[in-house]
Amino acid sequence: MSATGPRLSFVGGTLLLEGFSGRGRPVLGGAAEWIWDDRVHGWRCDALAYPALRTDPLFTAAHVTDAVPAWQRVTWPKPLLRKLRPDQRQAAARWNQTGRGCLVMPTGTGKTEVALNLIAGAAVSTLVVAPVRDLMYQWHRRIAEGLGYDAGIIGDHLFRLSPLSVTTYDSACIHMERLGNRFGMIVFDECHHLPGRVRADAARMCAAPLRLGLTATPERSDGRDIELANLIGPTVYEMAIAEARGSTLADYEVVRIPVHLSNDEQRRYERLSRELRTFIHERRTADPGFDWEKLCAESARSPESRRILKAFYAKQAIEDRAEEKLRVIEDLFRLHAGEPCLIFAGSNAMARDVSLRFLIPCLLSHCGKKERLDVLQGLEARVYPALVANQVLDEGVDMPDVKIAIVIGGKASTRQAKQRLGRVLRKSGNARATLYEIVCVDTNEVERSRTRRASDAYDKVRHRRERPKS
């Protein structure tokens, strides 16, 4: 390498071009936005521009020394991949045409299988980015099963770098300034998480020429999904959820079960409600514009407002942890005895309540990797009859063979509902899947349940009539 010739390197998540004069902006790399950095006397641009740069004939013509790639060819010990279905093969073929882009496939249609095949085919150092710790470990397991490889882990207080590594969006974002040139391929699982002021750094600071995005729900409520095309690549394959239902996925229905508060709970609930109403009525009389935000702001200056806020949260907790919910869960356990069952709680406290009442495992964020694995595999192997979780299972975690899901409380977000549904939609035989939703009547939870069902995942779903209440 000539010491004086132009040189391109990866520095702190950017590409640094040295040996060009600072006077005229280099015309290399088409859309690459070069910016002169006087601190290091070189031109910089996002690492994302690397593939465009390399394919620019001017780059070769300018005799630039390319010191960017620190990735390597990889040969997999023994791929044990399942044969792809025709629709999966089509998805893989579309992506292979350009080596960059997003695959949109509903939960349960085998996105991971497709991705593993593409990773095996690329035979280059690869980084898989997953939204949460659980999914990161799940990828680790799937890679071990499919490619016979013990992948590196970056995240969850670990930093074990291997030519094939798994990480989370948060860790990728933090570490990409050191990792961005170590991988020739990057896979973004549930890639609708990527766009965002800060998180997009996970893609912008990465030089990998091969880029794959996987998602069931590309649309975001803030409309930032358009950025995916720039950060990963265009959508190259899309399978609609309606197509998937019935053919690949089990049919499913949603059953809503209303519960009432116990007398004691009702009394406490009403007392708290009265307290809140009186307070808010008094305040509104004095100030018609008094609202939640003002209450929060005021709580900094008034012990009274702090007490009212506490009352509000106490009221929510009564809804969340209503005793009747535990009784309904018992009824459902009786009804579906012998069938594995998945329960989603609205809070950690409720998840622990359920776990303690029925002595079934609960999966919370504090559970270690080993315990998670034991619980998830235990459910699959029918060692455990059921499991209760909070949001850690909200997205993408494989839950084979579960046909019964129970939602007790939770937020109204559309995506969450879709993802939760996806969990019970796994393909296995012809058994119908059922999603039970337990909500307190005469409380705000009913409202949240209505919002939840407005999402298109619930379209054309048969709703059983509410259970008559004595």
């Binding site: 006397h41 009442r357 270690g368 315990e371 455990y384």
Partner: protein
Amino acid sequence: MLTREQALAEFDFARSAVLPDRLTTAAHGRYLGYAERMLALYRQGAGRTRRDLHRAVNDVFVDEPDCPQRRIDAFCKLLDDASLYERDRRGQAAKLRREVFRLAAPRHPLVHSADRLFENGEARVKLEIAEKLGRPWPDVEAGLFADIIEFHRLERFADFADGRALLSRYNVAQIQAALFDAQVMSVWAAEDFKTILRYAKLARLMHTILRLESGEYLFRFDGAVSAVRETRRYGAALARFLPALIACRGWRMHAVIESRHTGWKLSLDLAATDGLTSHLPPPDEFDSQVEEDFATKWGTEPRDGWTLIREGEILHQGQKVFVPDFVFRHDDGRTVLLEIIGFWTPEYLDAKLATLRTFGARPILLAVAEPIRRGLPAVSNDVLPYKSTLKVKDVLEYLSRSGFPA
């Protein structure tokens, strides 16, 4: 450090300024008492759970009219940061859970009252499991989730010197939290350059250095990506750097904060005169006794027209910097840089020589202790050997010979 969840600041939109929460004796006199009470809680808190301690801290403020929840949460975080909690290292709780859930699995579902179809009553199964494990059920239940962070028990508290120290830490911590959203920080400094630049480097920040006409230096701290776009990603590094800056003398600071909600640019301004106290000690004025003795002997008055200035000039090239120990400035404008090499390890010497080569364009006088001089490879610098102390006379003699142009 705090997290965003405990950050508390006011926004002055008229001046587009961020004002991190600050407790002062004038406005928050009562807080000194609260701080002492919180410290007492933690000092006597060994064995109590985190949740319990946090509730007790909340109770300290129950009648205080001026106290946002975040302020309380921030105190809990700072106290926890100084605490060692008993952690379930061997995974006993997880082991117990596995055992209990596996014992219960064949009995699923545990029903409220047993009947002919479902014969496993909750109470009876729990009793049987407790018997099998050889401990009473309430004991089993208490152990099942002992590894959850809220249920960790306090083992040791490293403590603060007093309530005032806790309040000082709080004030600095809230500024740090505001810096999480900073894009860039400018620092004007008249001294302690070495410390400022060293800590900025430790925090992995990049610098831009500018000498102002006043003789002051202006530093700009941010990171690699900052060249490409405005980014908050170096905010945490800037926050880490702050306590070191606060420990220094004669500086002021301006940071550009990007509001997370509105995207607006706000400014955060601070100066050494603001009366903040860092938990870090002020930087040593001199790196070694030799330096200190020499400076003391030289005094503050010019000798033969030469004035001695400690860390008077920063040499920098790209991201490499070098602050020679002393600068001699003559009334006629000539300057001579002096670096004292009195201590050495092979690594230290190698690094020093590499630095000297990088900045070879500027003549730097090396004062080298005799034992090192013998092992010193050839350098292009002028070398002034000394025995145990560097003599003013020797240096003056060298300066009188030196014909460095202005």
